[in-house]
Symmetry: C2
């Protein structure tokens, strides 16, 4: 057995994941604009973890779904996720000038926007094919909330008075809601009982919150391999993430002035990221952040108890542990 539960999930769902990949490859093609496939091909097949499609397939299987539209749903959530990444990748000149690395950028802004739009639209076409208004409702609401939260995040950038509530609002919207919808639609397409659909939604939401907190933790500690992200990106982009909020709560004056200069005013020197890391370790903010991630992973696991037992249910328990294992 492999120690990575993502691989266990992949093995348990390998036939279905192959169908998902075929559908993705099939639908990211554009008859009118062959250029699109060159771009999407590179992006979608470039080692993404396919975590969200796996959640959808697992959810449908937990609810004993026996037809084929969960394949559509899995492709849809991957398309939406990829579109979001592409649009998140669009940056402004001002940001570029202030030190964001440009060398590794694969796309220019215009391509990122248009290909992202194409993937969003493809996702909606696939949703219509399922003929399920409940699915359309869940995923269109998720899409709206994703963009709202990205705007909220943008407006809170460099704002040292960002509260933990506001941070939670941002990560619920930009990350957790798509995890939640990915799980929920697996139950909806299976016409599962309301309480099972609700448990799947809450499981996905809590897992997504945990996942994002881990991500924000690792931005100050880890070796990030997420598409287009490097350790220190949040700091360089002056994002007020949970470790920073906890550090500010300590009201240490020296540290406050450091965050004010580097994040609020954006005056960063080359050695500042290492100082930031040291501050967050020394004042306990990273530890507190880690505990929050574990708290939310436990909430996620508690929801799985409301769902029918099966190999997929067990794998989701392990997957949830795996998400937070990255911070321990």
């Amino acid at each position: 057995m492999d120690n990575n539960p993502l691989n266990d999930l992949f093995d348990a769902l390998s036939n279905e994941m192959q169908s998902v990949d075929e559908l993705i490859n099939n639908r990211m093609f554009s008859e009118h604009a062959p250029l699109i496939q060159n771009l999407t091909n590179h992006l979608i097949n470039a080692g993404g973890k396919r975590l969200r499609p796996l959640l959808t397939l697992a959810a449908a299987n937990i609810c004993n779904y026996r037809a084929k539209y969960h394949i559509h749903l899995a492709a849809i959530v991957e398309f939406i996720h990829t579109a979001t990444l592409l649009h998140d990748d669009v940056i402004d000149e001002s940001l570029k000038r202030r030190g964001r690395p440009t060398a590794n950028r694969l796309w220019d802004n215009k391509s990122s926007v248009l290909v992202g739009d194409f993937l969003f639209a493809r996702a909606f076409q696939l949703m219509v094919e399922t003929e399920s208004l409940k699915v359309l409702d869940s995923l269109s609401n998720a899409s709206a909330e994703i963009s709202e939260s990205e705007v909220l995040q943008m407006s809170l950038s460099q704002n040292l008075s960002t509260s933990k509530d506001q941070y939670m609002q941002v990560i619920r919207g930009k990350t957790a809601i798509l995890f939640a919808s990915a799980c929920e639609v697996g139950g909806l397409i299976a016409e599962a009982k309301n309480e099972h659909v609700e448990a799947l939604r809450l499981y996905g939401e809590a897992l997504g919150i945990s996942f994002q907190i881990v991500d924000d933790f690792l931005d100050y500690t880890g070796n990030k391999s997420n598409l287009g992200k490097n350790i220190g990106d949040d700091f360089r982009e002056k994002k007020i993430t949970l470790p920073i909020i906890y550090s500010l709560q300590k009201k240490n004056n020296t540290n406050y002035l450091f965050w004010k200069r580097t994040l609020e005013k954006g005056h960063q020197k080359i050695e500042d990221f290492e100082i930031a890391q040291k501050v967050l370790i020394d004042d306990g903010s990273l530890d507190k952040t880690r505990l929050d991630a574990i708290y939310w992973s436990n909430i996620a696991k508690s929801q799985l108890k409301f769902l029918p037992e099966s190999q997929f249910n067990k794998l989701l328990v392990k997957l949830t542990d795996y998400v937070v294992a990255r911070v321990s």
Copy 2:
């Protein structure tokens, strides 16, 4: 009576248009991200012509629709149109550097992308509320084709071998398909006969083609007042539009070298736009373009004959004439 048939249409539909405006204002609000309304408010209430919503309302009325979801549909097409404008407004540094005016830009790239995404998602939420899968099918297909055509247009930029067929493919997708869908969904929501829905779709498509050809004509002659567009924009962005294609077909060597330098290589001097205008007038390319616009407006009008007679049908005939009146 006013000479502008758009005003006649507005008068005939004033109550319904007021409901559309209320719905638009209501739904462009974001509870989580109040910033969004500041941005959308400015954009959507900034003197847009509301041409597409008018088409939807007129189509529904021609088909004797008596319920209220055509209001939703009209708001949806305006949201999609506005989102498209916002995303079209995202430009690359390279373009900026090569002379595109930046002073009047109201949005930075990131806001344009995220607020556009929000409006797209809102449009899909409104579609789901109509509970009509046929409507969802029409508008999700239109959305996909819009982005495909924008990519195609981008890939043909600066390409002097662009054919008229390719140009038509671009404008069908980037402009005409939303006109077509705006009209078609008015018939679909009314559960009109198939031949009426088809006539509405073909009317909208031909009107949209005519509209875009007029737009491309005016880019070399008129006083443009479209959002974010100025006369000469196409030339500065090295777009190969219909007047250019006709000029290249003449195989005049002096003119060919001029287009090669200014559009293919992109080496433009300050006086080049005036030279371009003169070339297109002198070699008859603008006249040929004008005739194409009129040809498509006649195709549009011919489709209206398949639809029940009514005051709205007559107003659409006048509207179609009005679109091409801008070039005569």
